[in-house]
Symmetry: C2
Subunit: 143 residues, 2 copies
Amino acid sequence: MKVTRKSDYGLRALCTLARQYNREPVSIGQLSAEHKIPEPFLEKIMQELREHGLVEATHGRGGGYLLKKRPSHISLREIVKALDGPIALVTCLDPALKCAIEADCPTSSVWEIINQKLDEYLASLTLGDVMTMQQTERVKVSS
Amino acid sequence: MKVTRKSDYGLRALCTLARQYNREPVSIGQLSAEHKIPEPFLEKIMQELREHGLVEATHGRGGGYLLKKRPSHISLREIVKALDGPIALVTCLDPALKCAIEADCPTSSVWEIINQKLDEYLASLTLGDVMTMQQTERVKVSS
DNA sequence: TGAACTCAGAGTATTTTACTCGGAGTTTGG
DNA sequence: CCAAACTCCGAGTAAAATACTCTGAGTTCA
């Protein structure tokens, strides 16, 4: 019942890109330094995010990554799905359709429902929301 | 973002025990046969469920497991927590308190909120609910 | 041209999950 | 009272997923 580090790291990096939205591209080096993420690992992560159309990269000197959409148009669901694959709480649900273990599986219905709830909830939260949460958190701490 | 097989298997077994509530104890052999779960593995699972007070065992010939509480008093949260440990979507949340990576972590708030939502939702569903879902599912299929 | 970037694919290390094994203790029917 | 049918407990192993690394190549720009 865990989100992988990939999603965790990925979200952190995307937060920085959200802050820099409509500004200069941000390089892997900068991102990994800011969030203390191993560089080559983050490189992979950013590549996957690009392949899924969440960010775009500019090559060469001065290059780096930029968000491809507005922060409020990028849902956590997209991010997690891009990095961890489709959300499937139980292995049985993954190739979808029918349970491979039991014909009349007593549990598939519940897992399915929970899975859907989670999916919906992740879809309802955006990078924009994450940013504002961080803001209010900061206010709370400093006050 | 997965529930382990332990929780999956465990829930299946508990369904059988719920059906047999207030009847004869059910042995590992029966349970593993019904749900096609490897016997020694299920044994471990049942032990953990017992240690967490969800089932009780009677020893010796004719022995086996019984639910310790009414099905409607056993939440999915308890079950998953017993078998997969406390629900912590992100590793950072596990030892709780502060993020080990960043002081001013931009993402901890969201994960925490999602985590809590999931936790609440699992707490709201009981073994009893699972049983009735299975019933209605069966009706749907046969009609 | 070379420094600062990303790209792509293969490879490795670590951790977690899934599962096994062996021996000991308990209960009950014959 | 003994053997069969159970659970208990602790340690151990196999397989799969995760978390990373490495290398060499292509791109852009000062």
